[in-house]
């Protein structure tokens, strides 16, 4: 490591002060490690690059140590965590590609654009791997319905998800939405996309071929979305802070063109590697591509299509403008690729090439403005083994000690009118859930079902989590989220295959919050292992906390299953009078942490219901066999609100009455 001189830098580059280092989210000892592997003080753009690569979002530094404990292998798994999305085999030479991501903080600041760009980002993660997106889901958590901001946030988030997803022509077919005061200051907007790709044409991000051209495609780069660490860089550009809106604005029209252009080019074999520019845009994509390929990469920032003048290296490398991708092309295919992108009127610019140096070299105005080793950016990313305090699960509640409701039907009415259990038709009718003409089971059921190609196969998709269980007992809550997703796929007759997840938690630097994260991951791991339900991708969102008040621990599970014949699928609607209702599984009258306890008795105590994974599997396999045999007219998973609410939901769906007979 030669101690290279600090490269020429921006116009008025300050010396790096401890405040600037702290503003970039780096601890003093971490900064020392940077100086060590650089062999000198970093320039501002180099510091910015490290800060983003070592951020929680890119490096998973607080959670990686525990994420490794999750099962990621399985018969159907083609690609587990580590790429843009997970890939599983669904037979007939096809693969399902899916992932979930969160845009929680931006959505609180600007709900429409925050949610819209969240949907746009997750779709890029899927089609960057060569998959045509076929279904979108979203898991939303808002504050109390009567909180002053809630109405505005719900309206903006739902309109943003619809505005982006509908324009892209990808049906939004499922998800969840619930409300709790713990989310008053921190809403959760988790978006999931499922795509389908030919099994032998999956595209990865590992760069290959020294000298190959690195190509930038999609929208132009602006100053939007550069993270809080921009204060230090404000002195660089001669414009004031107002010039740098931290909110990214999505352009679904450009992304629709980007989707079609990428899939059209992917039908040829021009592409060696491709990665979407998500968090930290050009930085993450170029570094990860080079690292995975074991190569270096040289970028000429003057050739990056920009939509503003005088952008500094820092701003170009850290900008999070939307709808952009980075590709490595095979030699001689540039003209073909350029023609495809010009057909769709998209920017196409060769911005650099691959080298053997294993270094990221940035040039601007002919001068080197950044020169750093790639490997340490990825391998020396900090990894914390944060101290944690396990949550003490409360004692189980004695149901007999609770007052019997005077009028169970009145209680039922209160439950189905509650914000969490009421019909969410008012939300999903704002989403186009029919585009592509493949939607077999529409929103509102246990799982959505989307036909694959011309059928008869179908993909079942769902997203599940019961945050109040996770707060009371993280381990049980984590297991329950996986079990319920597994059960919901089974309820439509599908065979569960694999899951993605979105782990939303408070500040991991607080041991009790870290204890929630550890507990939930352990519970998830046990359930995924017991149910042969591997985790193939996911996202972690931490620091969801305002003035010390953290959200409920919310490990959302996004699950995908397969059904061989969509005409044999089950829905929650009984088909006619005279049908017999059969309850599968033991009923223990468990009321701890129940919606009944909260909505009717105003209490949130007691242990959550235990999860018996062996019984879950046994009952699920039985129900699936019954559905496949054609004996079953309707099937519904019992969740929030238990038997009474589930029966009511079936009756409403079938426009029929239901008589429940208590055991003698």
């Amino acid at each position: 490591m030669t101690a290279a001189a600090r490269p020429a830098h921006g116009k008025n580059e300050p010396t790096i002060t401890p405040e600037i280092v702290r503003d970039h989210g780096l601890k003093p000892e971490e900064y020392d490690r940077v100086v060590q592997f650089m062999g000198r003080e970093p320039s501002m753009v180099e510091l910015g690059i490290v800060s983003v690569m070592w951020s929680e979002h890119c490096s998973y530094k607080s959670s990686r140590r525990w994420l490794r404990t999750l099962p990621t292998k399985g018969a159907c798994v083609i690609q587990g965590p580590g790429e843009n999305a997970g890939v599983i085999d669904i037979g007939d030479g096809q693969a399902a590609v899916f992932k979930m991501e969160s845009h929680n903080h931006p959505s609180f600041i600007e709900p429409y654009q925050g949610a819209a760009t969240g949907v746009g980002g997750i779709m890029r993660d899927v089609f960057t791997m060569g998959a045509r997106p076929v279904a979108n889901l979203n898991a939303l958590r808002f504050g109390a319905p009567d909180h002053p901001k809630t109405r505005h946030l719900v309206a903006g988030v739902v309109a943003g998800i619809g505005g982006y997803g509908n324009c892209m022509g990808v049906p939004t077919v499922g998800g969840e939405c619930n409300f709790h005061p713990a989310y008053n200051g921190n809403i959760l907007v988790n978006a999931m996309t499922v795509g389908i790709a030919p099994k032998d044409r999956i595209f990865y991000s590992a760069a290959a071929g020294v000298g190959n051209q690195v190509v930038y495609v999609g929208a132009k780069t602006g100053r939007d979305g550069i993270h809080g660490a921009t204060m230090a860089s404000a002195e660089f550009s001669d414009d004031s802070e107002a010039k740098r809106p931290t909110v990214q604005v999505g352009d679904p029209f450009t992304e629709k063109l980007l989707l079609e252009a990428c899939l059209e080019l992917m039908a040829t074999d021009a592409i060696v590697a491709i990665q979407d520019m998500g968090a930290a845009g050009l930085t993450c994509s170029s570094v990860e591509m080079a690292d995975k390929g074991g190569l270096g990469i040289e970028l000429d920032l003057d050739r990056v299509p920009v939509r503003e003048t005088g952008m500094s290296p820092y701003e170009i490398m850290l900008s999070e403008s939307q709808e952009r991708m980075l590709m490595v092309l095979k030699p001689g295919t540039e003209a073909l690729a350029r023609r495809v992108f010009e057909k769709y009127e998209l920017d196409f610019a060769v911005v650099g090439h691959l080298t053997t140096t294993g270094r990221l070299v940035l040039k601007q105005g002919g001068k080197v403005v950044g020169d750093m080793p790639v490997k340490p950016l990825v391998e020396q990313a900090p990894q914390y083994d944060r101290p944690f305090v396990a949550t003490q699960a409360p004692a189980p509640l004695d149901a007999a000690a609770l007052p019997m409701p005077k009028d169970p039907i009145a209680a039922l009415k209160a439950l189905v009118a509650s914000a969490d259990l009421c019909s969410k038709r008012w939300i999903w009718e704002q989403y186009d859930h029919l585009v592509r003409g493949d939607t077999v089971i529409r929103p509102g059921g246990d799982a959505a079902l989307v036909r694959v190609g011309d059928g008869p196969k179908g993909l079942a998709v769902t997203s599940d989590c019961t945050p109040r269980y996770c707060k009371a007992d993280p381990r049980t809550g984590g297991a329950q989220a996986v079990a319920e997703a597994w059960r919901n796929l089974t309820a439509v007759g599908a065979t569960p295959l694999a899951v993605t997840d979105n782990l939303n938690f408070g500040n991991p630097e607080k041991p009790p919050i870290m204890g929630q994260l550890v507990g939930c991951i352990q519970g998830m791991g046990e359930a995924c292992t017991a149910l042969d339900f591997p985790v193939v991708s996911g996202n972690v969102s931490l620091y969801n906390e305002t003035s010390g008040e953290a959200i409920l621990p919310t490990p959302v599970i996004g699950a995908v299953g397969l059904i061989a014949d969509i005409t044999k699928a089950a829905t929650i609607a009984p088909k006619g009078p005279g049908e017999t209702l059969v309850l599968v599984g033991a009923t223990q009258g468990w009321l701890g942490q129940s919606v009944y306890l909260r909505e009717i008795l105003g209490r949130e105590d007691g242990a959550p219901p235990p999860v018996d994974l062996a019984a879950e599997r046994r009952n699920g396999d039985f129900v699936r066999r019954m559905i496949a045999s054609g004996l079953v007219s309707a099937c519904h998973d019992l969740g929030d609100g238990g038997l009474l609410v589930a029966a009511a939901e079936m009756a409403l769906a079938g426009n029929l009455g239901i008589t429940l007979v208590a055991a003698p």
């Binding site: 429409y112 929208a219 939007d224 809106p245 909110v247 503003e308 939307q322």
Partner: protein
């Protein structure tokens, strides 16, 4: 009393509509077009005679509904104030 409000995107904020309109105009042969920005123009009829009070009311309307102050600026014109 009539009030007029212009709501426009803040500088630096991406304007997808403006970009698409610009491309379409070029497609129609209007080569002279260098940049297009699209905003909202709202005309309000108010049951209010005092121009200053009217301006103050419209200011509150802009902050609470008419403009998304995170990414938009607004400009108010009231006859006589």
């Amino acid at each position: 009393m009539k009030a007029k409000v212009h709501v426009t995107l803040k500088a630096g904020v991406l304007d997808p509509q403006g970009k698409a309109i610009g491309n379409a105009l070029h497609g129609l042969g209007f080569a002279a077009v260098k940049d297009v920005r699209q905003g909202k123009y709202i005309e309000l009829e108010l049951d209010e005679r005092d121009p200053l009070k009217a301006r103050e009311t419209v200011e509150r309307m802009c902050k609470s509904l008419l403009a998304n102050t995170v990414i938009e600026n607004y400009r108010i014109e009231v006859d006589g104030a």
